[in-house]
Symmetry: C2
């Protein structure tokens, strides 16, 4: 039902501008770029009430009524006082989906609230759906749909520097109440190499809200994980019902700011919404199988793991490391997270001991969990110990700490690991470091489907998401005792 | 007393090798590189028992006894079974400091333990100090002293890729029990652009331990912050006494792994040390003014803030933001950390309101703490609101969230901010994003002395370090109530 917002064949930019620097110009420039590069394969139109030449080569008309066809989507960027008139024309023309970028509605007080109510009633009258107002809109990298008015480059000390290159197409979708935070997330995603399916900043959510977006993304085949940034959730009951249904098919992670009383007060002055008690949210999310992130890094760390690896069928985790210290950190993090360090079966212990004796893994390796292959580790020792450990019924998931500085670890390790049958159990990888090798080594693992993190604690947190989601997804009950 | 380890005028590499790939070759190559680039300005010698040409152009002798002078420092990389003989020669020659990189001592069992005891007694006999054995040794970027045998580049899918470029000279020193984790930290520091004063991996700490290193670094003018990674602290009483003294002059941050019972067990199999109860450590650290980090990211986030900004004289924090959502996150994090959101004085509120009316800050800005300048923020609005807020007696520190995507924020902001008199109050900065602009914008702030973070929560955590250290440094007592 919301498909027109995400896969329109014809798009109108209402309020496009001929002046560089204006939002209506930036938006036209962005969409024209996608069309020229062949990413957006539909048709583009623009309107501007002043007579003049086509804007950036996009067929430009003085009124919506003059368009030669009915676009699937209109993006409105006129000043607030003209928005309702344009929306009215869109309705009369037969357009079914509008995104209103313009601010100056409910968020600015009484007068704006009236304007917004009027906008909604226009939409109702024409059976037209609305995202916004006061938002940055929609981004679908795969289809070249991009209503973000923020340019890719921004001037820094005289240089033009990439400031908001959009993420590559991927399988994570993000819906956000805060446009500014949404934009910051996109910047973060690009930097981390995390792919995006759909992005929606829904601003004042005068019509389309989280509930409908979750429903749509729940059915969207290109979305594997749904991320929600919210400061308030208005239709709480419907949200939980829908989220509970969708979570049976794919994970939803919510990052809800305004957790503390003071934070909630700040949120309500930000979005004029009442945030509600955090403990109520916490309990409700858990019941609906919704995972919760507490900061942005965690938000995307969880999303990456959930989009790449299967949920876990239990909470008993094995750690394989070539750095003893990192192994200790991961062990601490597992215990503190409420998961458990797996206790290997006798068979596993025996086989690891044999491998140690025969030199497959280093003689000085420690073979209890965490398995420490030490600085004498090799690719072989990682692969062979993994093969044994993953077959142990008392292991539900694996955290592999493959610190690349160890001389015997080579860049062939990711491919070698990918050949191992993991028996449907999830695995995450950690390599610490910010230099080229570490960054590329982690990316290699990720291309092969293993989410990779620069810190033991972040890897463990990602595994926790797979365990928590698994608990809901498989309805598993902790019968192992503690 | 330990100066010879950090500023030697002549260095011997004992056990240098003529075979590329060997540790004794890599080490010679690394040190020769510093000498050729003029960073290490002292004299280099090598020993190798086999006759042959000079190694990499370093004057090479068959025995320590043959050297033309007495080096200040010998770095021993021979196989374990030859180490004691070489140490004996070093002693006879009159060398006063040795670093033993070689493993194969206490960490491998009874035989190694005997070897280590013998090594220690040789050192005692000759009044010679020892770092190690079983360590990666010492790195002082400023003086080009570098006993790390790990090469800068490593092969990745056929390319030579930087894997361990050393951090630039800076004011943070790091001492670490785990060599592998220490190396990973250096990789992280380089990636984050964090400067290093001294790095010591002390391995089995058979002689020089944390206590003496903290004492030395406490007096070292080039060290502003001391970081300690430890899995166990053996001389607990002396450590706390010394740490308590040093903390009066400069901050010490400890990252102690093995916090949980299982983690501690893993640590003891890693270093054969008994870790002790975490709650005992926690209380003792607090009493000695030692700050504690719980993961690597936090470790360096805290260090950066402590090296760049003054400690806080209280825990009342002001937040200035151009992104409402980020402001809410920072508010949550401040409340959850045990700090408090500052409540502005009437004078401050009045002046901010005037600025809003006169258009110095946006009309739609929210002027209660967190101050939300909104997406209409400009450099001016940040600078002018900061000037007012920093003069408020009820503000002890400032977290500035300057999200750069906002059109009115330019790359001139850092310099503009640096011109404001902050009245001795600490400030940290946040800009979210992983693209070039965000990275360079943060670095600009850091060059001007403001630690900058990519997440609101990380900025708040850094401020927390300044507040906690301030509590010890200034002996302030919380008399404000809650």
């Amino acid at each position: 039902m919301l498909r027109g917002f995400f896969e329109p064949e014809a798009v109108l930019i209402a309020g496009a501008s001929r002046e560089p620097g204006k939002v209506g110009y930036a938006l036209a420039e962005v969409m024209k770029g996608y069309k020229d590069r062949g990413v957006f394969r539909g048709r583009l139109y623009a309107t501007n009430p002043k007579p003049g030449p086509d804007i950036l080569g996009i067929p430009t008309f003085r009124s919506v009524m003059d368009l030669p066809e009915v676009p699937d989507l209109a993006v409105i960027v006129t000043p607030a006082r003209f928005v309702n008139q344009v929306a009215e024309e869109c309705g009369r023309k037969g357009i079914k989906n509008i995104v209103v970028i313009s601010g100056g509605f409910a968020e600015v007080g009484e007068e704006g609230r009236k304007l917004q109510e009027e906008l909604v009633s226009i939409c109702r009258r024409y059976n037209m759906r609305l995202i916004g107002p006061n938002c940055v809109g929609v981004l679908v990298p795969k289809h070249g749909l991009d209503t973000l008015f923020l340019p890719v480059d921004k001037e820094l000390d005289g240089d033009m520097v990439t400031s908001l290159k959009r993420p590559e197409p991927g399988s994570i979708s993000l819906i956000t109440q805060s446009g500014a935070f949404g934009v910051a997330c996109l910047d973060y995603m690009y930097g981390e190499g995390i792919g995006l399916s759909k992005f929606v900043s829904y601003g004042n959510k005068a019509d389309v809200d989280e509930v409908e977006l979750i429903e749509y993304l729940g059915d969207d085949e290109e979305t594997k994980v749904i991320l929600v940034y919210a400061e308030s959730i208005d239709r709480g009951r419907e949200f939980l019902k829908k989220a509970g249904e969708v979570s049976k098919r794919k994970p939803i992670v919510v990052f809800k700011a305004g957790r503390t009383k003071t934070g909630a007060a700040a949120a309500s002055s930000h979005t004029a919404a009442i945030a509600g008690s955090d403990s109520v949210y916490e309990a409700a999310f858990r019941q609906a199988g919704v995972l919760r992130a507490y900061d942005m890094e965690q938000f995307f760390d969880m999303a990456k793991a959930l989009s790449m690896q299967p949920p876990a069928r239990g909470d008993r985790i094995a750690v394989i490391t070539d750095g003893g210290g990192a192994g200790v950190m991961a062990t601490d993090a597992i215990e503190l997270s409420g998961m458990r360090m797996a206790v290997f079966s006798e068979e596993t212990s025996r086989r690891l001991d044999e491998m140690r004796k025969s030199g497959v893994i280093p003689e000085i390796a420690s073979i209890r969990n965490p398995v420490d292959l030490t600085g004498s580790a090799t690719d072989d020792s990682f692969v062979e110990s993994l093969k044994v450990i993953v077959r142990d019924d008392s292991v539900d998931g694996i955290v592999m700490l493959a610190l690349h500085h160890v001389p015997g670890v080579t860049s062939a390790l990711p491919e070698r690991i990918a050949e191992v049958d993991l028996m449907g159990k999830p695995m995450v990888v950690v390599d610490i470091g910010g230099e080229d090798y570490a960054v590329r080594f982690r990316r290699k693992f990720e291309k092969l489907g293993f989410p990779a993190y620069p810190e033991p604690e972040r890897g463990v947190n990602a595994m926790k998401a797979l365990v928590e989601y698994g608990r809901y997804f498989y309805h598993w009950i902790n019968i192992h005792g503690k």
